[in-house]
Each structure stands twice: as structure tokens, then as C-alpha cells.
């Protein structure tokens, strides 16, 4: 059993406490926008926010997320209004296959909270997600656009 707050909703999940948060989000909470890419904190596809900070949920036991505010890609927009990062992603047509992009967007949204006007160096240091389609050129443009929004 684990009690989690995901996207503002309090959930009682039937899950072994050692289960990675990623799988509790996907399989118990049923939110599949958060992706599995490696399971070893290398790729960032599983990035969610825990109390506003970007974390790689594939290596966090669900127990360590109890009592924390978890936000997933599904909870980033406010109602029908996209978050400014999502909006920039649409405007700059960032996604190719899109599989890495939930994690990428969550990582960028957290970066912008920390550094509202990131330099290229801030982006290089802060965004370490893997994108096998290679969308980085658009990612960088879209981050700067979102920072201006």
C-alpha cells in the first residue's frame, strides 16, 4: 500500500513499497504519459516532478514519494491550457516519435522554474535526457521561446 498525491489527487495504491514510482504511476495510477526508457536513471524518459523538482521516477521507490506532491505530464497543463513548455513544443514542432518528450518537457519545466531565463550553458547542464530521434535543435529553440513566454 502507498498513499500518493499525483496531480493534486490523493490516491491509495495497492503496491509493494519497493516498486519504482514510475511503475506505480503507470500501472497502478494508470497514467501512461510517463515513459520507461532504461530503468536506471540514464535517459530521463520517466521524469516527473516531486515537490516541484524533476526526478527520474524509475529509480525512486514508491515509498519515498509518500507525502510528496507528484506531478506527471498529464498534470502539467492547467485544465485545457497548455503549460508554456508544452505550448512552445507545439509551436516549434519538437516531437518526432514523441516517446522521450514527456520526460523532456517535465525536465525543462523544472529547469525554467529554477532558471526562468536559462542560458545555453544552463540548458546544457540541466537537460541530460536522451532523445534517440535527435530533437535537440528544436528542444533548445523551444526552451528559449518558452522562457520568453
Amino acid at each position: 500500500m502507498a498513499r500518493l498525491t499525483i496531480n493534486g489527487k490523493s490516491l491509495e495504491l495497492k503496491v509493494d513499497p519497493s516498486t519504482p514510482l514510475l511503475w506505480a504511476i503507470r500501472e497502478q495510477a494508470g497514467l501512461t504519459g510517463t515513459k520507461y526508457g532504461c530503468g536506471v536513471a540514464m535517459c530521463g524518459a520517466c521524469t516527473v516532478h516531486m515537490d516541484g523538482k524533476a526526478v527520474r521516477s524509475c529509480v525512486l521507490p514508491v515509498a519515498s514519494a509518500e507525502g510528496k506532491q507528484i506531478t506527471t505530464i498529464e498534470g502539467l497543463a492547467t485544465g485545457a491550457t497548455l503549460h508554456k513548455v508544452q505550448k512552445a513544443w507545439v509551436d516549434y514542432e519538437v516531437p518526432q516519435c514523441g516517446y522521450c518528450q514527456s520526460g523532456m518537457i517535465m525536465a525543462v519545466a523544472a529547469l525554467l522554474k529554477d532558471k526562468p531565463k536559462p542560458t545555453d550553458a544552463d540548458i546544457d547542464a540541466g537537460i541530460t535526457n536522451i532523445c534517440r530521434c535527435g530533437t535537440f535543435q528544436q528542444v533548445r529553440e523551444a526552451i528559449h521561446a518558452a522562457a520568453k513566454a
Binding site: E74, L82, W89, D124, R132, C133, R140
Partner: protein, 725 residues
């Protein structure tokens, strides 16, 4: 990649329409022959369905894996249809429908950068035919000749009276008409949607998390499976101790899958994986358990000087020129095994009952997935169906010719009949059960005359043949012509140089590690071998790398045009900024002409910064320039990750790298600025997704050689201590 044969004899076809209706879930209305989509909207023809609200549904047979084909193909149909682009949406026909209707959508295979270029003509005709039928239906309703009517933006206008109607209003009537036998396609000069950077149709759901990938599929009552196949290719399961894990939380079944794999089926995937990891399995590793990267390299090395080789090109007497040459240059290159590692690992979901087998799968080739389903289920085609997942989390060739995960999913589902089972591979499984970029060595030998002209060239390849492993029927007298991609005498992969004495041959040295089609396929290593060696020759001749090439390219104006374009943009010949070095490469691949100029600086002897790469491509026609730019930049990430950091090594018969910690991929910090020059010259249809991948690596390597004075010939670069910063 050819489509496997589907046994049609086992499929009972009634009348085309009724047969279709049964398998397709299409409703056939009484009294007419109109075929309907699931929501009841009429099909004008197999490519176009029009809903009463004017929505235009374009059917797309090829697969979307990020490369933009879905949007590109919809643009082609919409162009000829004169559709309102803002009302266009898409859907996939299923492979089962295709069989039932005798393949009206042609080939489903999405690989070899062929999605658009191979089908452009018949999909445009589909759009044009539908337009003529819609216009005719409007003319009939008005009682006027169709020649007095025009169509634009999904609106039909009767010119003399100014009356208008919309596609949605006349679709029912149009669907009943007999299609015209002949249609004329537009002159490319009149295109309004093709050639424009229209927005992709599939972006929104990818930024909200709403897009459902194969990994995310949920079906009522579904269980989840995790699998391990013998890590030594060709090995088998000897034994496994199911009792040890059967009591673990969520575990429902432990099953052997074929003779080489074991799976745990549980309520959730995480439970399945935990149990699988805890289960003792012993393998019968078979005859390959001693193979290593070193033994494979030795086998290939022997091929470099072997007597026997498959000859692709033999003009003049290349070897003969070396004796009399003023200078002979020789270099041996080697390229490693590499995994596709798409972000979404392999997966498939299957449901099996005695009279039906259904599969949901992200695949680059729905028909091949269907064939795998038939074979694994043992059911005839009319009892099988494959639903392609709308968007794939990356393919790069892994999901085209190979459907091992489909076979596995069906084999598991057969052991739990009636229950849908979703099989997900872990990243570790994905890394060790790949269909790898073939391993290849090359011995390059060139002879220069006293003025530094290239008089003879011998390119001896030694290594794996993909076709002999995957499509042996496509070998030509044993020779694998795909091995020579980029150095062919003619066709889609033509060598861009004229060398008076030229020998290109391949000593085929296959290994037990299964090869596959990896984005760009054999152009990746061939471009490195050829274009790096061209720089080595120019250096030996004391000539400028661009001038040296140009002298050999007068008969290859399109190759030359893209090379000149990047050289001009970069200011080749003019001094580069302090510490910056340039390198060039070009090639023809998948029907397109591509070139790159890289600007690189190397600091501390081993830190490589790729600052900028200028890329030019002439794909004949550029369907969506915005997406082409993205494919260029993306292909460079894939290609540069490969040449800097990626290698799958073999130890005791198995692949050693199991995740991104040992098989790395570029990050945003390492991304060069990519400038694209899209220069379609018209008259042919070249590919987009793959061709450019091959020029990034040799352009960067040539720049690095200039920066360091050292030529690297074996890859990846990390093995030499180079780090991409």
C-alpha cells in the same frame, strides 16, 4: 526489405466487399456497394473517407515512427484531392483488411526511406480519383457537366452559377460512382500542400502524455509479460525453476516461449519483471558460446586479403595501377556492431482464442507483423488481425524486417488463451536481443600519379551481409548488393566519383550475431571508409580535399551540386575561426544526394566540440521542408552518437552492453548547430529519413584529422579516448 509472402490460399474471400466487411468491421449498407468506415462514413476510395462534417480521413499504409511520413503522405493525397488541410486526419488500414481486399494499399513496409518516395504516385492518384468522383457527384446533383465545376479547399463550385457545395455533402453520392479509369496528376508547379512546411498532424498528443504507444496499451483483463531469451544467439533454454517465483506477488504464469526464451506473466509488468529476475534459468548456450569481438575481428581481418570476394565494380585494372603509381596509399578501417535502441523498447500485445488471434504492435511493417502472427498462431489469415499502434516510439529499422517480439507475444498468448497479454521488453532485453548494425572492415588502397591524380582505387569490404541473414532470396549469385550502398555503379546509391581503375568487392564474413537494417544501413560505414579515405588521398597528393574530389566528379553533377553548396555556405578555402577545423563528405543514398561540412574544435587533445554542421540534400522533391530539416538534425544525432560512443561488443557469444550506461547517446550539450540546405532539383523522388545520416560522421572525422593531425580508423571514437563535449 521485401514483404514476406502471406498465404492467401488459406483465406476464403467472398465477394470483395462482403469479405472486407467481415474482417474489417466495415458496415456494408444494403442495396449499394459503398464501403464504409467504422463510423459509417463512406469510403470514396481506399485512400479517402469523407465524413458528413467535411472531415477528410486519409488512409496511410506506411508507419509513423517520428519521421513524419504520416503527415507527408496525407499531404500527397490532400494535394490532389484539393482538400481543406485543416480538416485532414489520418487512419491506418489493418494488414488483415489489406489481405481481404487484395492489397489495395500496396506495400506497408516503412524502411529504406521509401515511405513516401515509393508510394507517392499511387497515393496522389488516389487523391485525384476521389476528387473527380466528388466533383462528378456535385455536377450530377446540379444537373450540370462536371467540366463546369472546380474543387478547392474541400468546396466544389459550379463556375457559371457560383453555386457551391462541400465534400461532406456529396460524399455519399460520390462513393456510389464508378471511379474514372484515368487521372492526370498536377504539375509540381501547381502544388499548394506538397512542398510546404505544413504542421505535423500528430504533435498535440505527444506533448500532453495522451499519445498511446504500444507500451501504454490497456485492454480489459490484460496481463503483462516480461521475457528473457538466451543471451547467446542460437542458444536454447535448458531449464528454469518456475516454482521458485510462482508465489511472488501478482505472478500468474511462467511459460517457455519457443525453445529459446522464458516469460513470466503477471498482473503488472513490474511484478513480472521482478519474478523473472528472481527465477533461476540455465541456458544451453550452443556452439557460439566462445565467440568474442576479438575472434570476430580476426575473421574479418582475414577477409581483407582473401582471394575470393564478391565483385560489385571492376573497371580497368585497379590493382595493376598500384605497382606503377607514384604513390600508393593504404588504410584499414573497422566499424562495430551497434544497437538501434529506439526509446520505446520492443513490445507487442496479443490475444489468442481457438478461432482468433489479434495483435497490437508498433511496427514498421504491418504485413510482416501479420505474417509473424499467422506463423506463430497457426491460424489462417481470416482468423488473424494486426492493429498497428498509431505512433511508434522510434523504429530505425529494428521494427521493420523483424517481428521476434510479435512471435513471442503470440506464443505466450497461446498458453493463456482468452487473456490479452502485453509483452514488454526491458531495456536490457532490447540491448542484448538486437538485430545489429553489421560489423565491417575495409581495406582501402589508392594509387596516385605524379601529379596527384587518383588513377586506381580498391575498396575491399570484409564483413557481415544483412541480406544473407534476413532476405537470402535477395542475394544475387550469393552477392549482397546492399553491402555496396553508396558505392554502387548506378541507381539510388551511386558512387559520386569517376575513377579510371576501380575495384569494389566484398569478402562476406558472417557472424552468429544477427545483423539488421539500422537507420542508413550500409551507407554509415561506406561513407566513412570512402570519404575519410578520400581525405587521406588528398593529403597524400598534397591537394585541397574539395579540389581533389571535384576533379573526380565532373560526371556527377548532382553529387557535386550538394558538395559545392555546403562548401560555399561554410566558406571552404577561407580561413576558419581560430581553433576551428573543417571537414567535408558527400554521398548519394536512398535516391537523394547529400553532403555535409562540419566545423570542429579539439581541445586538450581529446575533447571534441562539433560546433556546426552544414548539410545539403537534394531529394528531388521536398514534400515538407520543415520535417526534412528535423530529419537531418535528428539523423546527425543518431549518426554522431554512433561514431563517438556506440559499440556492442561480444563476450562469450553474447552482447556485453545492457543499457544506456554502457551504450550512450548524445545529449543536448553535445548537439552541434545544424544548418540545412534543402535543394530539390525535381524529376525524381529521393528519401529523407536516412540519407543524411552518413555524411555527418566522415565530415566530423575529416575535420578532427585536420585538428589533431591524427587519422582515426576504428570506431567508436571513445575507444581512442575522444569525448564529445
Amino acid at each position: 526489405m521485401k514483404t514476406p509472402k502471406i498465404d492467401r490460399r488459406s483465406f476464403v474471400i467472398g465477394t470483395a466487399a462482403v469479405g472486407a466487411g467481415l474482417t474489417l468491421g466495415l458496415k456494408i449498407p444494403f442495396g449499394t456497394s459503398v464501403v464504409r468506415a467504422q463510423d459509417g462514413s463512406p469510403e470514396i476510395n481506399v485512400w479517402v473517407v469523407i465524413r458528413p462534417d467535411d472531415t477528410v480521413v486519409v488512409r496511410v499504409a506506411r508507419s509513423e515512427m517520428g519521421q513524419g511520413t504520416l503527415t507527408g503522405l496525407a499531404q500527397m493525397v490532400a494535394e490532389e484531392l484539393e482538400a481543406d488541410w485543416t480538416k485532414v486526419t489520418t487512419e491506418y488500414p489493418t494488414p488483415g483488411q489489406s489481405v481481404a481486399r487484395k492489397r489495395p494499399w500496396g506495400n506497408f513496409s516503412t524502411g529504406g526511406s521509401r515511405g513516401i518516395r515509393e508510394s507517392n504516385e499511387y497515393v496522389r492518384k488516389g487523391g485525384a480519383t476521389a476528387r473527380l468522383m466528388l466533383v462528378q457527384a456535385a455536377a450530377n446533383a446540379w444537373g450540370v457537366p462536371a467540366t463546369e465545376c472546380t474543387a478547392a479547399n474541400s468546396v466544389i463550385t459550379h463556375k457559371p452559377t457560383g453555386r457551391t457545395t462541400t465534400y461532406g455533402k456529396v460524399a455519399e453520392a460520390a462513393a456510389k460512382l464508378t471511379p474514372p479509369a484515368e487521372v492526370t496528376l498536377k504539375d509540381p508547379k501547381e502544388w499548394k500542400i506538397i512542398g510546404k512546411p505544413v504542421k505535423r498532424l500528430d504533435t498535440m498528443t505527444k506533448v500532453t502524455g495522451a499519445q498511446v504507444y504500444g507500451f501504454d496499451l490497456k485492454l480489459p483483463g490484460m496481463l503483462n509479460a516480461a521475457i528473457k531469451e538466451c543471451p547467446v544467439f542460437g542458444g536454447k533454454v535448458k531449464s528454469f525453476d518456475a516454482d521458485k517465483v510462482k508465489g511472488m506477488p501478482g505472478v500468474k504464469h511462467v511459460v517457455q516461449v519457443g525453445d529459446s526464451a522464458v516469460a513470466v506473466v503477471a498482473e503488472t509488468w513490474w511484478e513480472a519483471k521482478k519474478a523473472l529476475d528472481a527465477m533461476p534459468i540455465t541456458w544451453d548456450e550452443g556452439p557460439n558460446a566462445k565467440v568474442s569481438s576479438a575472434t570476430i575481428a580476426d575473421t574479418l581481418k582475414e577477409g581483407l586479403d582473401a582471394e575470393q570476394a564478391f565483385v560489385r565494380t571492376n573497371v580497368g585494372d585497379a590493382k595493376g595501377t598500384f605497382a606503377g603509381a607514384a604513390k600508393k596509399v593504404e588504410a584499414v578501417y573497422a566499424y562495430p556492431f551497434q544497437n538501434h535502441a529506439p526509446m520505446e523498447p520492443m513490445n507487442a500485445t496479443a490475444k489468442f482464442t481457438a478461432d482468433k488471434c489479434e495483435v497490437w504492435v508498433p511496427t514498421q511493417n504491418g504485413e510482416a507483423a501479420f505474417a509473424a502472427t499467422l506463423a506463430a498462431s497457426g491460424l489462417p489469415a481470416d482468423k488473424c488481425e494486426v492493429y498497428k499502434i498509431m505512433v511508434i516510439g522510434g523504429g530505425f529499422g529494428r521494427r521493420g524486417a523483424f517481428h521476434d517480439y510479435v512471435t513471442q507475444a503470440v506464443r505466450i498468448a497461446k498458453q493463456v488463451p482468452g487473456t490479452p497479454v502485453k509483452l514488454l521488453w526491458s531495456r536490457e532485453e532490447d540491448m542484448v536481443q538486437g538485430r545489429y548494425h553489421p560489423v565491417m572492415q575495409a581495406k582501402m588502397s589508392g594509387g596516385l600519379d605524379a601529379s596527384g591524380n587518383l588513377v586506381g582505387l580498391h575498396m575491399r569490404l570484409s564483413g557481415q551481409s544483412i541480406l544473407s541473414a534476413v532476405f537470402p532470396q535477395n542475394l544475387q549469385d550469393g552477392r549482397d548488393n546492399a553491402t555496396f550502398q553508396g558505392v554502387d555503379p548506378s541507381g539510388d546509391f551511386t558512387l559520386g566519383y569517376t575513377v579510371p581503375n576501380l575495384l569494389i568487392d566484398h569478402a562476406m564474413r558472417n557472424t552468429h550475431v544477427p545483423p539488421g537494417f539500422w537507420r542508413g544501413v550500409n551507407i554509415n560505414q561506406n561513407a566513412i571508409f570512402l570519404e575519410c579515405f578520400m581525405d587521406e588521398l588528398a593529403l597524400a597528393a598534397g591537394q585541397d580535399a574539395l579540389e581533389f574530389r571535384r576533379k573526380l566528379m565532373s560526371k556527377h553533377p548532382k553529387h557535386l551540386a550538394v558538395l559545392n553548396a555546403v562548401a560555399d555556405r561554410a566558406g571552404w578555402g577561407k580561413p576558419a575561426p581560430q581553433g576551428v577545423h573543417r571537414g567535408l563528405a558527400h554521398m548519394m543514398a536512398f535516391g537523394s544526394y547529400v553532403a555535409a561540412c562540419a566545423e570542429v574544435s579539439v581541445t586538450g587533445g581529446d575533447k571534441v566540440k562539433v560546433r556546426r554542421i552544414i548539410c545539403a540534400t537534394d531529394p528531388g522533391y521536398a514534400v515538407n521542408p520543415a520535417q526534412i530539416e528535423r530529419q537531418i538534425a535528428g539523423s546527425f544525432v543518431y549518426g554522431l552518437s554512433a561514431v563517438f560512443m556506440e559499440e556492442c561488443t561480444v563476450k562469450n557469444g553474447a552482447i556485453e552492453q545492457t543499457n544506456f550506461n554502457t551504450y550512450d547517446s548524445m545529449k543536448i550539450a553535445q548537439m552541434p548547430k545544424v544548418e540545412s540546405i534543402i535543394m530539390p532539383s525535381g524529376g525524381f523522388w529521393g528519401g529523407v529519413g536516412e540519407p543524411t545520416i552518413c555524411v555527418a560522421a566522415p565530415a566530423v572525422l575529416n575535420a578532427m584529422a585536420r585538428a589533431t593531425g591524427k587519422r582515426i580508423r576504428t570506431f567508436p571514437l571513445k575507444n581512442h579516448g575522444y569525448q564529445m563535449v
